[in-house]
Amino acid sequence: MRLTIKSEELRDDLIKRVEDLSRQGLLECYQCGKCSAGCPVVNEMDIIPSEVIRLLQIGQLDEALNSKTIWVCASCLQCASRCPKGVEFSNICDALRQMVLRKRLSIPRVDADEVSAIMVSDAPQMGVVGALRKLNG
C-alpha cells in the first residue's frame, strides 16, 4: 500500500467543492476520531468517519466517494454534535452523497421502485421520504 501524494491533488477543485457544499473546513479536523467513536452505525462502514475526512485531507476524493460509509450514515448528527473542532461530518457525508447522486456516479442506495413496496406496508411516510431524499437524491 503506497500512496504518492501530489500537491495539486491536495487542492483539487472537487475537494474544495466538498468544503463548499458541506460548509466544513476539512483541515480543521485534527483526527481525534471522536466522530467515529460515537457513530451508531460505524459497524457497517468500510471506512470510519474520521478516516473519510483524512482521505479528503490527503487528496483522495475518489476513495471517499466510493466508500460504503456515506450510504450507511443515518444523519443522526451525533458526530457533529460532539466534534471538539466543530467539524460536522454529517454535512461532509451529505455533500459526498450529493456529489455522487447529482452526477449519477453510482447506483443510488435506495431504489424508488423497491420503496413503493415498503410504502404499502407500514413504514411511516417520513422515513420513506427521508430515505429517498438522502439516499436517492
Partner: protein, 303 residues
C-alpha cells in the same frame, strides 16, 4: 387559548394515534390546536449541503402559512420540528436564502391568491416553532398540567427516548442539553411516573435507514431497547413516529435475532399524558402497537 398546529404527513396517516391523543390532551389542558388550513410535507429531512435553497422551500412555505395564523406553530413529530426549526433559522440568519425562498413563495402565493385570497406577505422568520413538549412546559406550564391530571402514573417505570432530531444540532435546535436533557424527564415526573435513566436515550434508532437497510436500523433500535430494558423500564415513550416504528415494530426482528428477548411497549408521550388526564379510550388508541402496552398499564391499574 388557540395555537396553530402543524401535524405533518405521518401524523395524518400512519400516526393518527399520536395526532388524536395530542389534540385531546391539548383540549384537556386548555389549548385548542388549530390545524393550519393548508400545509404540505416539510420534506422530512433537513438538507446539510450549502446550495440547497429548493430543499428548504417546503418548510419555509409551511412556516409562511403558519405566519398567517399566528406568531407560533406547534408540532409533534421530531422530524417536522427539526426541519421547520432549522429552516426558520436559515430564513432568520441568511438574508440571501430568505430572499430566494420568498421569490418562490411569491410566485406560489400569486397562484393561490385568486382562489384563497391570501395576502402577499414575505416570510422573514416571524413564527416561533414550538414542540408540543415546549408548549406544555413554557406556554401551559407543567404545574398547570399537573392540576388537570385525573390520576398519576405512580410506579410506572418509563424510559424517555429523545432520539436525535429534537436535540441536535444544539446551536440550532436550542431544545435542551443534547447530552443530559431534562424536558422529557420533567414531563414524566409531572405525570408521576418513575423515570428511568438509560444510556441510549439520545442515541439513534436507525432513522430512515430502516427503509434502505433494515438490519442496520434494527441494530440501532435494538441497542436503544436493550438499554431501556437493562434499566428495568416497563415502557418506552417517544415523540417521533419513526422512532416509534423502529423501536416498537422492529422488536419483531429483535425477537428473531436475540435469544430470550424481552419485549417492551413503546408509546407516544401524549398517550401517557392522555391516560393521566383521564381521556377516553377511543382517543388513546394502541391498536397499531406491535408490543401491546395494555397489559403493563392494566397491571398498574391505569386503564
Amino acid at each position: 387559548m388557540k395555537i396553530p398546529y402543524y401535524p405533518g404527513c405521518t401524523l395524518h396517516e400512519r400516526a393518527l394515534d399520536f395526532d388524536v391523543s395530542a389534540r385531546e390532551c391539548a383540549k384537556a389542558v386548555g389549548v385548542e390546536l388549530e390545524e393550519l388550513p393548508i400545509w404540505t410535507c416539510c420534506g422530512a429531512v433537513f438538507p446539510l449541503v450549502s446550495d440547497s435553497v429548493m430543499e428548504i422551500l417546503a418548510p419555509v412555505r409551511n412556516l409562511s402559512y403558519a405566519a398567517r395564523e399566528g406568531d407560533k406553530v406547534v408540532t409533534l413529530c421530531s422530524f417536522c420540528y427539526h426541519v421547520l426549526k432549522r429552516a426558520n433559522k436559515v430564513v432568520r440568519d441568511d438574508p440571501e436564502k430568505m430572499e430566494k425562498a420568498n421569490l418562490f413563495l411569491r410566485a406560489d402565493t400569486d397562484a393561490r391568491e385568486e382562489i384563497e385570497s391570501y395576502t402577499k406577505e414575505d416570510y422573514e422568520g416571524q413564527v416561533d416553532v414550538l414542540h408540543y413538549l415546549e408548549m406544555l412546559r413554557d406556554v401551559v406550564g407543567y404545574d398547570e398540567v399537573k392540576k388537570k391530571l385525573r390520576r398519576t402514573l405512580d410506579g410506572l417505570r418509563v424510559a424517555p427516548y429523545y432520539g436525535c432530531m429534537l436535540l441536535r444540532p444544539k446551536k440550532e435546535m436550542e431544545f435542551d442539553d443534547p447530552e443530559q436533557p431534562s424536558i422529557f424527564e420533567e414531563f414524566l415526573e409531572t405525570l408521576g411516573c418513575d423515570v428511568v435513566d438509560f444510556a441510549m436515550k439520545t442515541e439513534c434508532c436507525g432513522g430512515f435507514q430502516i427503509v434502505a437497510d433494515e438490519d442496520l436500523a434494527v441494530q440501532c433500535s435494538r441497542n436503544v431497547v436493550g438499554s431501556a430494558l437493562k434499566n428495568d423500564a416497563e415502557i418506552i415513550v417517544t415523540t417521533c413516529p419513526l422512532c416509534r416504528y423502529n423501536l416498537d415494530k422492529k422488536q419483531h426482528e429483535m425477537e428473531k435475532s436475540v435469544r430470550g428477548f424481552k419485549k417492551i411497549p413503546v408509546v407516544y408521550f401524549t398517550q401517557l399524558l392522555g391516560i393521566a388526564l383521564g381521556i377516553g379510550g377511543e382517543h388513546i388508541d394502541f391498536s397499531d402497537n406491535y408490543v401491546d402496552p395494555r397489559p403493563v398499564l392494566a397491571e398498574k391499574s391505569l386503564l
